[in-house]
């Protein structure tokens, strides 16, 4: 419990720093938000009106503090492009991104864990060579390209799945698979090496010696210990996951945060971009936190460790 609390408290200054960086990046640059939206042809009156709405006559820090206050109240500013509240816009798109993220991690953990276990169980055989060889090559495939290939095969040629867009779970099959492909190689190889390493430990030998059945030794003794580095690996990869996530959402026209952030960046829509970026960062943190808790459950020694 204390461990969990400490991790939560650690996240606060990080998120604050992050929000400050995001705010300043979009603020301190030459050309205010007003001039980014309105081109040179617009009248000065229009500019100063917009400027007043954005209260850009006040010092940066004042605006940052009031922005921060707004964040806590769910007032995240309004989109300059379409005038809708940023908060609503983000909540509208959160489910899609969460579904994609959680789905991809789940699929990758399942497939990668299975492939890695098979390779470890048959170490040195053809199975092992085939699995490790294939995932080694798969590690260098760009996930958005994998997405395009999958679409051209399963959607265009065979017609099994819808092409682009959203609406039904079937629309998420190819996106989830493409994001998962980026994660599977690392998980497979780590599972394999972790299992091989754990299998040699003395407590496993002892379990075998006590006559515990193979299956029970594997699930009760080997698996939880071998899973620890894999779970931490998934957490760390969550940060890199964002990259493939954004591209995939754009390709498939999914109503997610990545696509929203890209659109906001190309439109130079500051509040929308701030909101989307921070939400993605919070999701990343949440994944890291869940991973920490899982690791703690798997390895009770950590929770009781001194700071």
């Amino acid at each position: 419990m204390r461990f969990l609390l400490r991790r939560l408290l650690q996240a606060i200054p990080t998120l604050l720093a992050l929000s400050l960086v995001v705010f300043l990046t979009l603020d301190l640059v030459p050309g205010s938000a007003a001039s980014a939206v309105l081109d040179d042809a617009s009248s000065d009156a229009a500019k100063s009106l917009l400027c007043q709405q954005l209260s850009c006559d006040q010092p940066v820090l004042t605006r940052y503090v009031s922005y921060l206050g707004g964040l806590l109240h769910g007032e995240w500013g309004t989109s300059i492009r379409n005038g809708r509240p940023v908060f609503d816009e983000i909540m509208l798109r959160l489910p899609s991104t969460l579904a994609l993220t959680v789905g991809a991690i789940a699929v990758a953990a399942l497939v990668g864990g299975m492939l890695g276990s098979i390779a470890a169980a048959h170490q040195g055989t053809r199975w092992d060579t085939a699995i490790t060889g294939v995932v080694s090559v798969a590690a260098s495939l760009p996930s958005f390209w994998v997405a395009l290939i999958l679409v051209s095969i399963f959607a265009l040629q065979l017609g099994w799945l819808p092409v682009f867009g959203s609406g039904s779970p079937r629309h998420y099959v190819i996106p989830v698979l493409s994001v998962a492909v980026a994660l599977i190689p690392g998980i497979t190889l780590l599972t394999r090496s972790s299992l091989l390493e754990t299998r040699r430990q003395m407590f496993v030998v002892a379990a075998h010696a006590r006559g515990i059945p193979q299956r029970a030794v594997f699930w009760r003794h080997i698996e939880p210990v071998a899973a620890i580095p894999i779970v931490s690996y998934i957490g760390v990869q969550a940060v890199h996951l964002v990259g493939s996530l954004v591209a995939i959402e754009v390709i498939f026209n999914l109503p997610g945060l990545g696509g929203l952030a890209v659109q906001a960046a190309l439109d130079r829509d500051p509040f929308l971009l701030q909101g989307a970026t921070l939400t993605i960062a919070v999701i990343t943190f949440a994944i890291l936190l869940v991973v920490d808790v899982l690791v703690m459950i798997l390895d009770p020694r950590i929770a009781n460790a001194p700071a």
Binding site: S140, G186, H240, A247, A265, L273, A305
Partner: protein, 290 residues
């Protein structure tokens, strides 16, 4: 004591997981193959105009969307441009961004990592906290922010990706420095009264250099994937540029009728990344052997 130890091992695992450690398990002459791929792509980046003369953006309305043939080995795109020429000319922007991004991240990252590892105490604490926060802002988001502020260009892309990799280099350089901190030759240098800068330059740097080179090589591959993904979604160079991610974005609009526009740029990205992974891996294998 036991608890301490477990935290250590956990951190060890985390550091390992943080490494962009792409293990390549293949019964191939890794070093030869990796070096060959990297060499060919580098030659393409440096001497594209000599290899395939002509302007990569030259439009030829008569030869629109032609399938691969002897005349056009990779086919032509919707504007009749030769895809093979565009792919070869695209090596320069694609590889350029990746290499410069790695250089941009490696220099400050390794320097700070060595400082933190050498000094320890509050400097180490502070830097590690900052870097942990930094790593939560992925390069992609940074690229989005910078693109909104400075417009879309390859320079902005390089900057964003480079700044985003600093924590990665920091972590590994710090861990490596800590590993050799208590080595006898470092202690000997300290007892001889060498100053901190001299120890870092003459003892730490040469001893972590090889693993840093491996890291850089693998990171170039990783940056190539990131560069092409970001170019693909429109954050790289504007259209006429033959950057590989951009080529794929163009190919996507014609994926119904022209498979070659999608396959060849994608294959070259994958092959180049694979080449860098292989090369980095073969060097690491050799180090482990020693």
């Amino acid at each position: 004591m036991a608890a301490r130890l477990s935290i250590r091992t956990l951190n060890g695992n985390l550091t390992r997981a943080h490494l962009p450690d792409v293990q390549v398990h293949l019964a191939l002459p890794k070093r030869f193959l990796g070096a060959a791929i990297v060499l060919v792509v580098c030659l393409m980046a440096l001497f594209a105009p000599q290899i395939v003369p002509g302007d990569p953006s030259q439009i030829d309305a008569r030869s629109r969307l032609q399938a691969p043939s002897l005349e056009h080995p990779f086919g032509t795109d919707a504007f009749g441009r030769d895809l093979f020429r565009r792919v070869v000319h695209g090596a320069q922007p694609s590889l350029g961004v990746s290499v410069f991004a790695v250089a941009l991240g490696a220099f400050p990252g390794i320097l700070l990592g060595m400082m933190a590892g050498r000094r320890g105490r509050w400097l180490d604490h502070l830097l590690t906290q900052v870097m942990d926060a930094w790593i939560a802002l992925p390069g992609v988001l940074l690229a989005l922010l910078l693109a909104a502020v400075m417009g879309r260009s390859l320079v902005v892309l390089t900057l964003a990706l480079g700044v985003g990799t600093i924590p990665m280099f920091y972590r590994v350089a710090r861990a490596e420095t800590l590993r050799i901190r208590s080595a006898l030759y470092v202690e000997a240098a300290v007892s001889l009264g060498a100053d901190s800068w001299r120890i870092t330059r003459a003892h730490v740097l040469p001893n972590i250099a090889s693993s840093m080179i491996v890291l850089c090589t693998v990171m170039v591959g990783r940056m190539l994937l990131a560069t092409s993904a970001l170019s693909f979604i429109g954050l790289g160079a504007p259209p006429p540029s033959p950057e590989w991610g951009g080529l794929l974005a163009e190919g996507r609009t014609h994926m119904h009728e022209a498979w070659w526009l999608m396959w060849f740029p994608g294959l070259i990205i994958a092959l180049t990344t694979f080449g860098f992974y292989l090369l980095g891996n073969s060097v690491r294998d050799q180090q482990a052997g020693e």
